[in-house]
Symmetry: C2
Subunit: 296 residues, 2 copies
Amino acid sequence: MSSPVTFKDSLAKTAQHLETVLDDVLPKPIGHQAVVAEAMRYAAMGGGKRLRPFLLVQTAQLFGADDAGIWRAAAALECLHVYSLVHDDLPCMDDDDMRRGKPTVHKTYDEAIATLAGDALLTLSFELMASSSEDSARALSMVKALAVAGGVNGMIGGQVIDITVSEDARDEALITELQNLKTGALIEFGCHAGAVLAGASGDDVARVRRYARDMGLAFQIKDDILDVEGDADLVGKAVGKDADLGKATFVSILGLEPAREMAAELGERAKSHLAPFGKDADILCATVDFVLNRTH
Amino acid sequence: MSSPVTFKDSLAKTAQHLETVLDDVLPKPIGHQAVVAEAMRYAAMGGGKRLRPFLLVQTAQLFGADDAGIWRAAAALECLHVYSLVHDDLPCMDDDDMRRGKPTVHKTYDEAIATLAGDALLTLSFELMASSSEDSARALSMVKALAVAGGVNGMIGGQVIDITVSEDARDEALITELQNLKTGALIEFGCHAGAVLAGASGDDVARVRRYARDMGLAFQIKDDILDVEGDADLVGKAVGKDADLGKATFVSILGLEPAREMAAELGERAKSHLAPFGKDADILCATVDFVLNRTH
């Protein structure tokens, strides 16, 4: 296993390089529509763990690729994730005032600009993904996969379930489905895209996707745990909100200790899928530990 | 020139076939997230002139193509157009209650579902465009072009200008820029995609794009004229709204008669770009007359 220092360096370096890529690909605030480019930059730059692009880049590196196309794919994935945050924070959805330690986009600008900035980030995401490989067929397959992961049977489907299914109708199966869609689909896409763009075999693509599925669910359970015991300053958004709203979470349904155990088990299973790669997968294994041990 | 009957038959037949394609490609309302698929269908099915997909299909036919990929591209373009209507109608944007003769999506469902249904239509649009040709490079180039036409320097940019630039700061140049972005970009994309997917030469692609640019602006001027003199029942949405809001339009800036003359001149110029195609371009020429003579 990598030491935690090596992992954190790697995560920080990825976040840092992603920042320069985002600065390069996000539209410049020019013309009469400059405000929407500003809002896109406000939402996308300088925040977050960048876990999804990190997974994409690390998976691509596992299979020997680390070119400009990989980084455009990573930026595409982050832009899609950020658009979902901007729209989810809107008053008509989760109505959040803070995100990544600063006021949400609709608070800093307004709801119309937040809606449009989200739309523009989603649109940009596909433009970037279309430039993710010199191999047209490969780039095209990832455009399709991104649309599936972000669509009605992926992230959007999860958000719809989250805002429409009443709390008392949620059991463990439903919350698992919800989280696999809402959070899991994009995390899985990160590993999927990294492997495919790097030219991995079908078997290896399947392995990293299984890893991502288990790790993604562990990630979400940890999120629920952090909402109960996290520190708002560290987490960067309001905590205790789930309980205040009477929300059904893995913690409210399973209890805190069993939720922690389930996350740990999923983490171990996630790592086991990477066993065939030996030490080459150390950083992806360390990612599991990072996800489970994070304090925000 | 085609007779108006032939043109209207052609428009109706395209709309009819597009309906079956949309029914096929839109997600079925199943699972816990069924409501968002319902809202997507409510927004996309059974309404509108389907002018953008008509232009795409007619342009493709001009160059000899009319396969399933062309129709998926047409459906992609319509889904992108419909998403923009759903989001533009939201209370935080244009706040419209009626669209295509029925209550807007956020009126029938709610704002959250309307936001997500729009997001899902945009996402689906790219999934469909990625399947628009067996030639990966061609499909990929159209994914990129759609993202540009729908992005910050296209449709979204136009909407941002429309909601942020004060009425008294709008002169003819600004309104022209606004409309070229907000409406023109997607109309031009329709002809662009039809030509590229059909394998047209670079010169021919340029010809139909010039046609689309002039026709698109004529279309928008006519829209402004209809807002002044149209019948709400025919137009399918509120009329007289621009004047009530003190909105700067081609009509308010140029006057009704000069606006009508400008639209007619643009229409003639649009047709002139198609002269090299002779009778093969009859339906695209008739489209200009239809746009200028429509009552809704």
